[in-house]
C-alpha cells in the first residue's frame, strides 16, 4: 500500500465517522454533500443528495440547493469526493482489498479486463440511472430509488431490522437481492457501482473535465509501462485520458507510477500548471519550491544546492555519496525457497567445473577431428531395438562405422579394430545370416537390405563414455521429435533417452495441433530444449548438443526485477510457465534463480511474454542489472523472425557483464520467437582465447554465425534484427 493510498484510507475512515456522527447526537442534516450516505441511517448526520433531489422534484420544484451544493464541490475538486469521502466507494475499496488478499492466497491471475474495444458507455448508463430516478419520482410521487438503494440496505435496513425486529415487505426483498447482486458484481468488476450505476457519478463525472483540480501527465519519456492502467480500479487509460469522466480521483496511479510522471495540480483557467519543471534546462525556475526532490532522485548526483555569493559558488552538500547498487536487495532461493526444489548454496558454488569439459571438446572440435567422423550408416529410421543399459555396460562397445562387407573383409585380414570385443560371438551368427541371403543379389543390394538385420542387436549401443556421461547427467533435458509416425524416430535418440533419467522425451505427430509450432521441413525434426537440432543425427553430435545445453543450464540464471512486477495484474509469466507459479513475486529487490535449481530449460517464453521487461537471464553468478533492457523491437518483428531458416549461433560472452547479458537475452528471445529455429551455444570468452583468435572476433560479446556474419561489440536490438533480415533472405 502506497503512501497516498494510506492517506486516502485514513480520509475515507475519518469521513465515514464524520458523516455518521449521529451517535453523539450531532446532526447537521440541512447540509448535503455529493456522497452516497443514506440519511435513514440512525447515525447519519448529513442528508443524501439523491434523496433530496427526488423530494424536491416530487414537490415540483427545481432542486437549486442540492444542485448548487454539488456543483460548488464539483467545480473545485471534480469527483474527488467519490474516491476520498464516499462511504459506498469505501465499501467497494474494502471489497477490492479482500479480493487482493484472496488473489494472493490462491494465486489467481484472473482479472476482468474491460478494455476499451467498444465505446465507453459508463457515463451513459449512469445518466440513465439518474434520469430514471427522477422520472420515477415524478411519475409515482414516491422515492422509488431510495427503496432499492444498496447503501440504504447496508446503513438503514440492517440496523432497523436489528433494533426493531424482523419484518418483511416486497421492497425489502428487492433491495436485499439488489445488494447481493451488486456485491457479487463488485467482486468481479472493481468499483462496479461507481463505474456504471452511480447517479451522483453522472453529475460528478463530467465535472472532471472542468474542475480546478486536474490530473496531469508529462508525456515525455513515458515508457508505456501501463502500470497506471493496471492499478486503476476503473481501468482508465490514464496516459491517454487523465481526466476521464469515470475517474474517482483516488490517486492510485499517482502513487504507483514508478517514474513520477503523474500528478495532481490546479488548473485555474490555464494559469497554473503543476510543478513540472525541466530542471536541467531551468534549474532556478520561478515556479520551483526548492523541495529538493530532484536532488534526491538524481542517480548520478548531478544536481545540488549551493550558495552563489557573487560568483563564488560553493559545492553542494547534498552530493551523492553512496552508490545505489549497494542498496540492491538480492533475493535468492536460499532465503525464499522454492517448493519442490532443493535450496542450493549461494555465492558461486552453485556452478560446477563441468564447463571445462565442454570447452575442451570445443577446442577439440575446432581441430576437425570429431567433425570428420562418418555418421552411422546403420541408423535407419524406424528401428528401435537396442540392448538394455546393464548389458551395454558389461560390453562397453560402440556400433560399427564401416559397412558390413568392409567389416567382413577386415575380419578376414585380421585388421578389425579393438572396439569389437565380442566379434567372436557374433561371427557365427553373421555367417549364418549371410548364408540365408540369395546369391543372385548384387553385393550393394545385399548390403542395403540385410545390413540392418545383422546389426540389429548392436545398432544402438552407445559408447561407454557417453553412457556414463548420460547416467551422471543432472540437468533436465527436454527432447521433442516431430515425425509422421512413431517409427520414424531415430533409434540413437531413443537410446540416448533411455540412458538417462533426466532426459524427457516426447513424440509429436505432425497431425497434432502442437506440431504447428515446430519446424517441419526436414522430418523428423528434433528439438532439444525447444531449440531445433540442425546437425546430423549421430551419437557424437547429439551428445555434443546435450553438453552444450548442459553448459547453458548450469551457467545461466533467471533474474527477476521485482520492482517491475509492481501492480502487474495480467501476470503473463505465470500463465506462460509453470515454473513461475512456484516463484514468489515480491514487492522489491531482485530475484536470482539458477536455471538448474528451478528446473528451467530456457525456452525463453517468459522473456517474451513479460510486457514490462522484468524477466531476464544473466550469464554468470553475480547480479548485473540492466535498467534499460527492452526487447520491444524484437517482439514487433516476430513475424519475420518466425519465418527464418534454421541457423546455429555461437555466442562469445563474458561472465557478469551487462552487454553480454543483453546479447544473451536478445538471443533467447530470438530463439523463442523463431520457434527454436535459431539455436545457440554459449562460449565463455575468457577461457577460450584460442577459439576467439581463430575466428577473427574483434570484440566481446560476439554473436557469431560465420566469419562473414558476426555482430561483435555492443549488440543492439537493431543489429540483431538486421542479422535476422539477412538470414531471412538467404533462402526465403
Amino acid at each position: 500500500m502506497g503512501k497516498i493510498k494510506r492517506i486516502r484510507t485514513l480520509s475515507q475512515t475519518a469521513s465515514l465517522i464524520i458523516i455518521n456522527l449521529g451517535f453523539l447526537g450531532i446532526f447537521f442534516k440541512h447540509i448535503t454533500g455529493p456522497v452516497f450516505n443514506c440519511y435513514a441511517c440512525p447515525w447519519a448526520s448529513i442528508s443524501c443528495p439523491i434523496g433530496l433531489l427526488q423530494n424536491f422534484v416530487m414537490t415540483g420544484q427545481v432542486p437549486t440547493y442540492v444542485l448548487g451544493t454539488m456543483g460548488a464541490v464539483f467545480v473545485f475538486v471534480g469527483s474527488a469526493f467519490c474516491g476520498w469521502v464516499c462511504p459506498f466507494g469505501f465499501f467497494q475499496d474494502i471489497i477490492d482489498f479482500i479480493k487482493s488478499i484472496f488473489k494472493k492466497k490462491n494465486k489467481k491471475q484472473k482479472k476482468v479486463t474491460l478494455r476499451s474495444k467498444s465505446k465507453d458507455i459508463s457515463l451513459i448508463t449512469r445518466f440513465i440511472v439518474l434520469i430514471a430516478t427522477l422520472v420515477l419520482a415524478i411519475r409515482f410521487v414516491d422515492t422509488i430509488f431510495c427503496k432499492l438503494c444498496p447503501i440504504g440496505t447496508i446503513e438503514a435496513t440492517f440496523p432497523y431490522q436489528l433494533t426493531n425486529g424482523f419484518s418483511y415487505n416486497i421492497w425489502l426483498g428487492a433491495r436485499v437481492v439488489i445488494l447481493i447482486v451488486l456485491v457479487i458484481m463488485f467482486f468481479i468488476v472493481s468499483r462496479f457501482w461507481c463505474r456504471y450505476l452511480c447517479p451522483i457519478g453522472a453529475l460528478s463525472g463530467p465535472s472532471n473535465k472542468i474542475s480546478l483540480l486536474k490530473l496531469f501527465h508529462s508525456g515525455e519519456n513515458c515508457g508505456n509501462c501501463n502500470i497506471c492502467k493496471d492499478v486503476c480500479p476503473l481501468d482508465i487509460e490514464v496516459t491517454k485520458d487523465p481526466n476521464s469522466t469515470r475517474c474517482t480521483r483516488c490517486a492510485d496511479c499517482v502513487d504507483k507510477c514508478p517514474k513520477g510522471h503523474l500528478g495532481f495540480g490546479l488548473d485555474i483557467f490555464g494559469l497554473v500548471t503543476p510543478l513540472d519543471i525541466e530542471v536541467t534546462k531551468d534549474p532556478n525556475s520561478t515556479r520551483c519550491t526548492r523541495c529538493a526532490d530532484c536532488v534526491d532522485k538524481c542517480p548520478k548526483g548531478h544536481l545540488g544546492f549551493g550558495l552563489d555569493i557573487f560568483g563564488l559558488v560553493t559545492v553542494s552538500p547534498f552530493s551523492k555519496k553512496t552508490k545505489k547498487t549497494t542498496e540492491k536487495k538480492l533475493v535468492t532461493p536460499l532465503s525464499e525457497g522454492i517448493p519442490e526444489t532443493e535450496t542450493p548454496k549461494v555465492e558461486g558454488e552453485v556452478f560446477t567445473d563441468e564447463e571445462t569439459d565442454v570447452l575442451d571438446e570445443f577446442k577439440y572440435r575446432e581441430k576437425g577431428t570429431l567433425v570428420e567422423r562418418p555418421t552411422y550408416m546403420g541408423f535407419k529410421k524406424g528401428e528401435r531395438i537396442y540392448l538394455p543399459y546393464d548389458e551395454i555396460k558389461k560390453l562397453g562397445v560402440r556400433p560399427p562405422k564401416a559397412s558390413l562387407s568392409n567389416l567382413l573383409k577386415q575380419e578376414q585380414d585380421g585388421t578389425l579394430s579393438e572396439d569389437y570385443i565380442d566379434q567372436e560371438l557374433e561371427e557365427n551368427k553373421i555367417l549364418e545370416k549371410l548364408n540365408e541371403i540369395p546369391k543372385s543379389l548384387p553385393k550393394e543390394e545385399m548390403d542395403k537390405q540385410h545390413f540392418e538385420k545383422f546389426r540389429a542387436p548392436r545398432r544402438t549401443e552407445l559408447h561407454f563414455d557417453h553412457l556414463r556421461y548420460l547416467s551422471e547427467l543432472d540437468v533436465p533435458i527436454d527432447i521433442k521429435t516431430i515425425a509422421n509416425n512413431s517409427s520414424e524416430i531415430p533409434a540413437v535418440l531413443m537410446a540416448l533417452v533411455d540412458a538417462s533419467n533426466k532426459i524427457s522425451f516426447e513424440y509429436i505427430n505432425t497431425m497434432d495441433k502442437r506440431a504447428g509450432w515446430y519446424y517441419q521441413d526436414n522430418l523428423p525434426s528434433i528439438y532439444i530444449n525447444e531449440k531445433y537440432y540442425n546437425s546430423s543425427i549421430s551419437e557424437d553430435e547429439l551428445i555434443y548438443k546435450i553438453k552444450i545445453e548442459r553448459y547453458i543450464l548450469e551457467n545461466v540464471s533467471l533474474a527477476i526485477d521485482y520492482a517491475k512486477c509492481l501492480g502487474c495484474n495480467p501476470q503473463s509469466c505465470k500463465k506462460a510457465c509453470n515454473i513461475f507459479k512456484k516463484i514468489p513475486i515480491l514487492e522489491e529487490g531482485y530475484g536470482i534463480y539458477p536455471l538448474k535449481n528451478i528446473g528451467c530449460n530456457l525456452c525463453g517464453k517468459c522473456i517474451v511474454e513479460c510486457d514490462r521487461g522484468g524477466v531476464s537471464f544473466i550469464f554468470g553468478d553475480k547480479l548485473v542489472t540492466d535498467t534499460n533492457f527492452s526487447i520491444e523491437g524484437i517482439k514487433k518483428n516476430h513475424e519475420i523472425i518466425s519465418s527464418i531458416y534454421p541457423e546455429n549461433v555461437v555466442l562469445f560472452l563474458e561472465k557478469n557483464k551487462k552487454h553480454s547479458n543483453r546479447a544473451l537475452n536478445y538471443t533467447v528471445a530470438l530463439s523463442y520467437l523463431s520457434h527454436g529455429k535459431l539455436s545457440y551455444q554459449l562460449v565463455d570468452a575468457e577461457k577460450n582465447q584460442e577459439a576467439i583468435l581463430k575466428r577473427n572476433i574483434s570484440a566481446i560479446p560476439c554473436f557469431w554465425v560465420s566469419s562473414n556474419s558476426q555482430i561483435s561489440g555492443m549488440i543492439s536490438e537493431a543489429a540483431v534484427l538486421a542479422f535476422v533480415r539477412k538470414i531471412w533472405k538467404w533462402k526465403g
Binding site: F27, K29, H30, T32, C38, Y39, A40, P42, I46, S47, C48, G51, L52, N55, F56, T59, G60, Q61, V62, P63, T64, Y65, V66, L67, G68, T69, M70, G71, A72, F74, V75, D142, T143, C146, K147, L148, C149, G152, A156, T157, Y160, N164, G165, S167, N169, W171, L172, R175, S207, K209, I210, S211, F269, G270
Partner: protein, 168 residues
C-alpha cells in the same frame, strides 16, 4: 473549455445561494428556502419512503387484540408523532383511533412536525411514525432507561397492545 469552467462556477454558486436564500423555482414556495426544507426532510426519516416499513396495513383489530384490550382498566395516553408528507402515519393514526373506540381508558394525541417540532427534540424522535405512551401520572413509559418507542408500521397492533399492557 475555459469558458465552460467559468459558466459552471457561476451557475453552481448561483444555484447554491438561491437554494439557501429561498429563491426557489417551482409552484410551491417554501419560506426559508430549500436549505430549511432539506433540514426537515433529512432530520425526520420517513420510514416507508426509504422502504423500511410496509405501505399497506389493515386497520381492523384482531380478536386477540380486542380480548387483551378489554382487560385494560387503567388510563393510558398515547402520543403519535406524524407529519403531513408521511405516507404511513394515517395508518398508525387509524389503528390508535380504533383502540380508543374499543376502550375509553385509552386516549391519544397527535404531535405534528409542522406545528409542534419541540416535542421531537424532547423525546429524541427521528423516525416517522413513532408512538410513545404515558401513564395516569403523566410519566412517559421507559424501558432500560430509554423512552419506549414504537417505530414504524410493521406489526403495529401487536407492538402497541404489548406496550399498553406494560404501562399497567
Amino acid at each position: 473549455m475555459k469558458i465552460i469552467s467559468i459558466i459552471a462556477f457561476v451557475l453552481a454558486f448561483v444555484l447554491l445561494i438561491s437554494g439557501i436564500y429561498g429563491l426557489s423555482i417551482g409552484p410551491l414556495v417554501i419560506e426559508g428556502g430549500q436549505q430549511a426544507k432539506s433540514n426537515q426532510i433529512g432530520s425526520y426519516i420517513c420510514l416507508s419512503c426509504v422502504g423500511l416499513t410496509g405501505n399497506t396495513v389493515s386497520h381492523t383489530l384482531t380478536d386477540d387484540t380486542l380480548n387483551r384490550l378489554a382487560r385494560i382498566d387503567y388510563p393510558v395516553k398515547i402520543w403519535v408523532f406524524t407529519s403531513t408528507d408521511c405516507p404511513t402515519c394515517p395508518d398508525a393514526k387509524a389503528i390508535i383511533l380504533n383502540f380508543t373506540v374499543e376502550n375509553p381508558n385509552i386516549t391519544y394525541e397527535e404531535i405534528k412536525l409542522e406545528s409542534q417540532p419541540q416535542f421531537f427534540d424532547t423525546y429524541a424522535v427521528s423516525e416517522l411514525p413513532t408512538v410513545i405512551l404515558f401513564n395516569k401520572d403523566g410519566n412517559v413509559l421507559m424501558k432500560n432507561n430509554f423512552v419506549y418507542k414504537i417505530i414504524g408500521i410493521d406489526n403495529f397492533q401487536e407492538k402497541l397492545i404489548e406496550a399498553v399492557e406494560t404501562v399497567g
